[in-house]
Symmetry: C2
Amino acid sequence: PKPWFLCKLCQVVWNKHDISMKIGIVGLGLIGGSLGLDFRALNKHTVIGVSRRPETCAKAIQRGVVDDAHTDITFVASADVIFICTPIAYIASTVDQLIPHLSSTTILTDVGSVKASIVRTVEPLWPNFVGGHPMAGTAESGIDAALSKLFVDRAYVITPTQKTLPDSIAMIESLARSLHSKTYICTPDDHDRAVAWISHLPVMVSASLIEACLNEPSDDVLTLARTIASSGFRDTSRVGGGNPELGMMMARYNRDEVVRSLKAYQTQLSTITQCIETESWSELEEILQHTQTSRSTFL
Amino acid sequence: PKPWFLCKLCQVVWNKHDISMKIGIVGLGLIGGSLGLDFRALNKHTVIGVSRRPETCAKAIQRGVVDDAHTDITFVASADVIFICTPIAYIASTVDQLIPHLSSTTILTDVGSVKASIVRTVEPLWPNFVGGHPMAGTAESGIDAALSKLFVDRAYVITPTQKTLPDSIAMIESLARSLHSKTYICTPDDHDRAVAWISHLPVMVSASLIEACLNEPSDDVLTLARTIASSGFRDTSRVGGGNPELGMMMARYNRDEVVRSLKAYQTQLSTITQCIETESWSELEEILQHTQTSRSTFL
């Protein structure tokens, strides 16, 4: 049912996208599975999936993640839009396997947490590709971890290039909005630089904190530190104690930006260390006042 | 009423400490005020307080934080135990002012978040001093922020020296346990080294993260980073966006340990940065696996 209040232009967009589609999902893990649950819940699309493991296909059908699933990748080739939800390392090879079976109108998109390297690799293989990054997740993984409404109110970043078809961008944006995500459009490079700051750098910063504490030479002090650690340490160390594979992928596929952010971070850390060493208290106070007032501009 | 099941030894301890005492509190802010609320709730002690501001005294009486309060420091001199809950910078001068009015049996204790420098200064002034650190707090401060049961299940670290009277240690431990805190006894130096790791270092690490992000030269990227920042950034940056005065005090009064922990931290950070720069992925994986499994040994 169309809301009556849409303006002419919006109605054109609405009519274009409020259509029943065939949505393919390759990789039925946490993200792929959760996308399937939500797209099916809209009661207008057909969702078909591919997983390498027959048990995952069976479970996906049983859990209502997909209408149907298969281990053969050609099973999703007839879809209008295909979401590639494999680990980053398999995105390019998945596209390679799909291409011979696609019609030229098929839109490919992915959900990888880095974008520049993926877009640079996939776009030449399939021009109708739209890079995407739904910024949601839990500590779990796999089809069992799939959750409905995982993307509600979360950022969904879409990273087209100058070559990406405007209609395909609009289609992915419309699908992301149908999940109640907040959509943002930027270049792959800007995406990678921004996630280096707010997601990848924090992991390295936080992991270094845990490692540094563990290197305390006195057993008494380490035991005491372990015992009295509370919310401050818990929060600052949380992402450093997360999934190591995820941390690896960030570093590996967003290497240049992560290194760049780490070096800028080290400069700040040296400034603070020097303030304390030289007892430049007013300078330290200025920094800590700045971080206090500025933190609220994030989040 | 004595529980019937106490053994002989416990009964001796119990009889000794299950007594009505006169408790003095100097500084009726978040910690001093919360201590007063809890000690009064035990319905056996008399709690008297001192604040420099008459309005704070009036409010403390009205809120039931103390039985009585006064702006004159000699008002608490008749107490059996005096908790000095002023900012760290005023602890020594408070002790100086109190000393001429105390009986030799009066136990002085403090609640400062660093211990070595305080104990080193105060013990020569008043040998019956027991350093203490109730590890509880909120983002708020002042008498209005005082909360009952603030110390329940929180660590209360007591830092005697070889000169501290065993009876005085036992008395402070008993009072801390009556708040349902978990008590720990260690040297002032071990305390300061442990809190450097789990409390002070995290503040500097977290503040540096905020500062580094803010130095991103591209406005577009910074705006995007601000917009898509979520739980990972929120948690890692939390303590770096906290009260600047508290961060200053940590650095100032625990300078050597904070600098030491920062240097050890920088070494770890460099190791991780180098792993990423040189693409030593198996080494990075090992580190991240180690931080994942080790984090749970804290907390």
